[in-house]
Structure formats: structure tokens, C-alpha cells
């Protein structure tokens, strides 16, 4: 562990990123410079070669015309001396002696005939002789005693003698060395500067990520309320923080739901369990006055109600936490409501309730059939349980382009004022209700999970009014919202 934490900078992603970025940057600049250097070097050489070729031609011309008398040496030497003063590179050595140019004439037997330049010219002659080829284009010549090679051009005279003009590459090399040195300094500076900038920028960026990580790791089982820090910038890291916080919102809401449901489950289960236990205990005591099967049957009924209640609670919780799994098919609401009315009609009329359906034909919605069945059953159960005799329950089905609407109304007492605002909340029920208060919560949760909405109110003329709107194009809506988020991202 200690070795791992020994150098946190070296282990950070910022370090790695800046290392690689610097490497790529440095290599790139180096490549550009190499190309530039080659171009400059070639250009300098081309210029000096052009000068050499021109000068050697002039010298050859002069040497050819000058009569071979005593003055020959002086005349040619003079001209060579003059030519050497016009060296294209202005840099001169510190010594007064002109060692940047030499002029050398050999006789047809290869002996030194004339020499203008520093020293006695013998090393130069030896170096020229050592060359195996005689070329017309200028070439490099290394001469013993000189630190820098010479660029040498030659011309052959009619009398068989050769004239060599040599130009030291010292100045050229000095220019290039200078260039290289300066480049290297700049290169080092730029690379260091660039890598420092990259390092600090990425570190700042990733520092934000690290802060998010730290905040996220703090969010434990007990503390779900804290959020990761968000930045105002609209970049990837900002998105990450926002997404994380949205995720945490959802998790918190799910956990909160779970807490609520566990608490209410515990509360709702205890009393029926006590009742069942009591009944079984009475049976066990063998009290002959009590009909045993009656007790058993009512215990079983209690248990059935309990498990149904459990299922519905969990469904509501799942739907509220957006975890309800829907297997959608096309369901004809008209047909479904007719079957449901058929199923409930005897019970309703037994209670003295009338039911009528207003529908203009098939109304197809895309929904989970099993859940939709339970939604309608829940609504009718509600009517059956809460509406007094001789009332009328009306169901109206209507369809528009976008949605299907089911309106359920009755002329009963309506929702009592104390609960009307909260009818869709779990466990909200009227004072006299024997239910668990889950019915409408379930209806609302399922409809919402399908993308629809439920509204409930009391009719002005009395009685409850409940409307469910079910979008037809739920699929398209979901896809559209997804594509929207994609665009947003």
C-alpha cells in the first residue's frame, strides 16, 4: 500500500496523459525541425556550390588566358585572393589569415604549382590526391590540420593542369550548429511548458473527477442525501456529475420508497397475522363451542387477503420506483371493459348498483394486459366497496388521435374531502374504508408507468369522477424521449 501511495502524481491519470501528450508533441516538433534543417542545409550548400562553380570557372578562365611567365603566379594568386574575399558567408575566423578559402593549382604531373590560402597547401593536395574519383560537381574534402571539411570544386585546364577551389564548411556548419542549438533550447522550453500546461489542465479536470469519486465513495448506505459536486461548465465531467446526481436521486427515491413500503408492510401485516394466529390458537385449544372449519376458512381468507395486499404493495412500490416490468400488447379497452362489466355486473346489481357503458367501439391501447385487467378490476372493486346502493356507475370510453380516455363516474358520495387531495397516495383511505388504501395508488402507479395519467375529483352534482388517459403512441413517445436525451448528450 505504501509503495502504491509513494508517488501519487506518478500514478495519476493526469501524469500519464501529459507524459504521452508531451511525447507526441516533442516527436512531432522534432520531425518538423528535421525537415526544416534538411531544407536549410541543402539550401546553404546549393548556394555555396553555385558560388564555387562560378568562381572556379572564372579562375580557370583567368589561368588559361594568363601567359605562363613569372607573373602568372602573382596574377592568378591575386585573382584567387580577390575571389576568396567574396565568400558568400560573411563570418570570418578570428585570425587574420584567410583559412576559409583555398586555391590550388596542380600541374599535369600532379605537383603543386600554385597555392593561395592558409598553410603550405600540402595536406590539401594530399587529401585531393587521396580521392579516387575526380568529379565535376563540388564535393566534401577533409584536410588534415583543419577542423572543418572543405567544399571543393575543380576545373581542368587545357594544359592538363587542375585548378581546385576549396571553401571551408566552417561557416555553414556554424550556422547549422547555431540553428540546432537554438532549436533545441526552444524545443526544450516549448515541450516543458506544453507538458506543464497539459499536466495542470488535465490534473484540474481529473481533480474534479477525483472529487466526484471521493464524494461518491462517501455516499454510503446511511447517507444517500449528499451529492457529488457539479461544475457550471457544460463539458463531459460536468455531465458526469449531473448524471451521477440524477442517478443518486433515483436511487434515493427508490430506497425511500423501499423504506416506506417496508414500514407500511410491517404495520399492515402485523394485525392480520395476529388475528390469524389467534384463530389458530383457539382451534388448538379445542373449544367445542366454536365451529373449527369456520375459523380455518376465515384464517385462509385472511391469508389470501394478506398475500394479495403484499403483491399489490410491491407492485405499487415497483411502479413508483419505475421498476415495473411491462410486457406491452395491443389491448382493446372496449372489449376489456365489457368483459369486466360482465364479470362485475352481478355483484354490482346485487348491491343495488346500476352500471352503464358508453363507448363508440374498439379503443386500442398498447399496455400490459395483466396489469390493465387489474387496474379495471381495482376501479370496479372500489365502486363495489364504496358506493352505496341505488347509485349508477357510468364508464365512458373515448379515443382521440393521441390518447384513449376512460372516465368512471358515479352519483355516490364522492371522495371525502379529507382524502380527495391524496387519493393516489398509498394507504390513503376514507374513514369507513375497510381496504388497505392501495387501490387507487395501484391504478395511478400502473397508468403512470404506461405513460398515462389519472385525475380524480368530485362531480359538481355529487359523486366521484375519475379519468384515465392512456397515450396511443406510447412507444413513439418513449423513443422520442430517448432520442431527445441522445441529442441532448
Amino acid at each position: 500500500m505504501s509503495s502504491k501511495t509513494a508517488n501519487p502524481v506518478m500514478r495519476s491519470a493526469a501524469w500519464r496523459i501529459s507524459l504521452w501528450a508531451t511525447l507526441a508533441f516533442a516527436i512531432g516538433i522534432m520531425l518538423v525541425f528535421v525537415m526544416l534543417h534538411r531544407f536549410v542545409a541543402n539550401d546553404i550548400q546549393r548556394r555555396s556550390d553555385a558560388w564555387l562553380i562560378g568562381e572556379v570557372a572564372v579562375l580557370g578562365d583567368v589561368a588559361g588566358r594568363t601567359p605562363k611567365d613569372r607573373l602568372y603566379g602573382r596574377v592568378v594568386g591575386e585573382v584567387a585572393e580577390l575571389a576568396s574575399r567574396e565568400v558568400p558567408n560573411k563570418l570570418r575566423s578570428n585570425s587574420n589569415e584567410n583559412d576559409s578559402v583555398f586555391f590550388l593549382q596542380t600541374g599535369d604531373d600532379g605537383t603543386l604549382k600554385l597555392w593561395v590560402g592558409a598553410g603550405d597547401g600540402l595536406p590539401n593536395l594530399a587529401a585531393i590526391r587521396a580521392r579516387k574519383f575526380i568529379s565535376d560537381v563540388p564535393y566534401d574534402l577533409n584536410v588534415r590540420g583543419f577542423n572543418h571539411p572543405f567544399r571543393v570544386a575543380s576545373v581542368r585546364l587545357d594544359d592538363g593542369s587542375h585548378i581546385y577551389l576549396g571553401l571551408s564548411e566552417r561557416d555553414e556548419l556554424r550556422v547549422l550548429n547555431n540553428l540546432r542549438f537554438r532549436f533545441f533550447c526552444f524545443w526544450l522550453l516549448i515541450v516543458l511548458f506544453g507538458s506543464a500546461i497539459v499536466f495542470f489542465v488535465t490534473r484540474r479536470m481529473l481533480g474534479h473527477v477525483r472529487k466526484i469519486t471521493e464524494a461518491a465513495s462517501r455516499i454510503g448506505q446511511s447517507d444517500l442525501s449528499s451529492r457529488v459536486p457539479t461544475s457550471k461548465r457544460n463539458d463531459e465531467v460536468g455531465h458526469l456529475a449531473l448524471t451521477l446526481n440524477h442517478m443518486l436521486d433515483r436511487i434515493e427515491s427508490s430506497v425511500h420508497q423501499l423504506h416506506t413500503i417496508t414500514e407500511s408492510l410491517a404495520h399492515d401485516i402485523r394485525s392480520p397475522l395476529t388475528a390469524i394466529r389467534g384463530k389458530l390458537e383457539i382451534l388448538l385449544s379445542g373449544d367445542l363451542k366454536i365451529e373449527p372449519s369456520e375459523q380455518i376458512v376465515s384464517a385462509i381468507d385472511e391469508l389470501d387477503r394478506l398475500s394479495e395486499f403484499l403483491n399489490t404493495s410491491l407492485d405499487v412500490a415497483e411502479a413508483n420506483a419505475d421498476a415495473l416490468r411491462l410486457s406491452r400488447t395491443n389491448v382493446d379497452l372496449d372489449e376489456l371493459v365489457r368483459i369486466m362489466i360482465d364479470l362485475y355486473e352481478p355483484s354490482l346489481s346485487e348491491k343495488g348498483l346500476r352500471v352503464n357503458l358508453r363507448s363508440a367501439g374498439p379503443v386500442t391501447v398498447l399496455a400490459d394486459a395483466a396489469l390493465l385487467h387489474r387496474v379495471i378490476a381495482n376501479l370496479l372493486d372500489n365502486e363495489l366497496n364504496h358506493v352505496p346502493a341505488s347509485c349508477t356507475v357510468s364508464i365512458t370510453l373515448a379515443a382521440t388521435e393521441e390518447s384513449a380516455t376512460l372516465v368512471l363516474e358515479d352519483d355516490g358520495p364522492g371522495f371525502s374531502s379529507e382524502i380527495s387531495v391524496h387519493v393516489f397516495k398509498q394507504r390513503v383511505k376514507g374513514k369507513d374504508s375497510k381496504g388497505h388504501g392501495l387501490g387507487l395508488a395501484f391504478v395511478e402507479a400502473v397508468v403512470r408507468a404506461h405513460g398515462g395519467s389519472v385525475t380524480a375529483s368530485n362531480r359538481p352534482e355529487g359523486g366521484a369522477w375519475l379519468s384515465i388517459t392512456w397515450p396511443h403512441d406510447i412507444q413513439e413517445k418513449i423513443e422520442a424521449s430517448q432520442s431527445l436525451t441522445l441529442v441532448d448528450n
Partner: protein, 225 residues
């Protein structure tokens, strides 16, 4: 009747074994998918009960695997999941049935018999059905008791048909809801009872022996002797 019970929970195992044996089944128990495959390759079972949450594999995969190896017996699927997923629905369409926990023993037995019957005589399609002095005519869709023609609504005729087809056996409320009305709901009201009550009013008229009996907490039976 040989039955293979594939269930890993010992409570459910022991709770089911005795009643199944009492109902005349010869029960083998497999506690995981591997054992189930071994047992069913060596024996021919008439019906299987498979729990979906097995320790070594998914129950549906097990059923599909058994089906691929040539097993054709009906399967009653036990599921602890409330929302039954599409794959179970697919199997249900293939002739199998499912039951979610917690379930009533009577419901399980009734569904088992239903499955076996469906498997044995699914092709048997009579135009008439007689149970004691009750007679159903599927062509004219009329029911009569003795000489008297019963005045039934179409829905009541379907309900009575279902009861007659299962005469002498327990029919639970949820069976009626799913088979007669085609929906798997558990209403917290007495909707089914009222239907039965009405039907009984027409079938078991004064002076006749009552045929439809209620088994409280379980369901109904149409007597066949």
C-alpha cells in the same frame, strides 16, 4: 400417476409431498435442475411441478431443456415472482400452467388435475356433456336439468360448462377467472361468488338435489355422483 417435484425449498417440499401422495401421485423430488434431468431421463413422468428459482439454474431453462430432450408431459410452474414474465406466458400457451407463491394447496391440486386432463383428452370434443341429470348441448348452447331447460345467459353457460368439465373436482375462483373470463386478477370482492350464486339459483332449483357446492376458502365443486 408419476409426478416429479422440482423444488429446492425443504418447507415447500415437505408441505407438498404428503398431500400429493394422498391425491394419488407417486412423487419424486429433485432439489435442483441437475437431479431433475437425471431423474426424468430414467423415468417417465406424467406431470412435473417446477419451481422457477432453482439453486443451479433457471426453472424455465430447465423446462426448455427437458422439452428439447423429448419430455412432453405438462408442467406446472411455481413462481415466487409476482409479475410473470413473457417466457412463462409462452409456456402457458404451450399447454403448461403456472401458479404464483403463496398458493392454496387445493388450487395446486385442481390445476394439476386440469393439466393432466388437458393432456389426456384435449382432443375429446363432444357435442353433449352429461353430469348426473344435468345435460349441456354445445350446438344449441342450451343446458337442461332433467326435463327442464335452464334459462342461462351465455356467460352462465360457459361457467356451467367449465364446472361440468371439471365435475367432481375442486375449481378455484382464480381458475374460473382465468378460464371463463380470461383474466388473472384477484379481486378483493366476491364477484365470482355472485356469479356462482346466480348460477346455482338456476341449476339447483327448489326440490332438486343441489349440484354446485361451495368449499369455503377453496372454491367450488360440481357433484358428479
Amino acid at each position: 400417476m408419476r409426478l416429479l417435484l422440482v423444488e429446492d425449498e425443504p418447507e415447500i417440499q415437505s408441505f407438498l409431498q404428503q398431500p400429493l401422495a394422498n391425491a394419488g401421485y407417486e412423487v419424486d423430488v429433485a432439489k435442483d435442475g441437475r437431479t431433475a434431468i437425471q431423474l426424468s431421463s430414467g423415468n417417465k413422468y406424467d406431470v412435473l411441478i417446477v419451481d422457477l428459482g432453482l439453486p443451479d439454474q433457471d426453472g424455465i431453462d430447465l423446462i426448455l431443456q427437458l422439452r428439447r430432450s423429448g419430455m412432453s408431459s405438462p408442467v406446472l410452474i411455481l413462481s415466487a415472482r409476482r409479475s410473470v414474465d413473457d417466457r412463462v406466458k409462452g409456456l402457458e400457451q404451450g399447454g403448461d400452467d403456472y401458479l404464483t407463491k403463496p398458493f392454496a394447496l387445493a388450487e395446486l391440486l385442481a390445476r394439476l388435475r386440469n393439466l393432466l386432463r388437458r393432456n389426456l383428452a384435449s382432443s375429446e370434443e363432444a357435442t353433449r356433456l352429461r353430469v348426473l341429470d344435468l345435460e349441456l348441448d354445445f350446438i344449441s348452447r342450451k343446458a337442461s336439468r332433467g326435463e327442464e331447460v335452464l334459462n342461462l345467459s351465455p356467460q352462465e353457460f360457459v361457467l356451467l360448462t367449465y364446472l361440468c368439465r371439471h365435475a367432481g373436482r375442486v375449481v378455484t375462483r382464480s381458475m374460473l377467472l382465468s378460464e371463463v373470463w380470461g383474466m388473472r386478477i384477484q379481486p378483493n370482492t366476491n364477484v365470482v361468488d355472485v356469479h356462482i350464486y346466480r348460477l346455482r339459483g338456476k341449476v339447483d332449483t327448489e326440490g332438486r338435489e343441489p349440484l354446485i357446492t361451495t368449499l369455503r376458502g377453496i372454491g367450488y365443486v360440481l357433484k358428479d355422483r
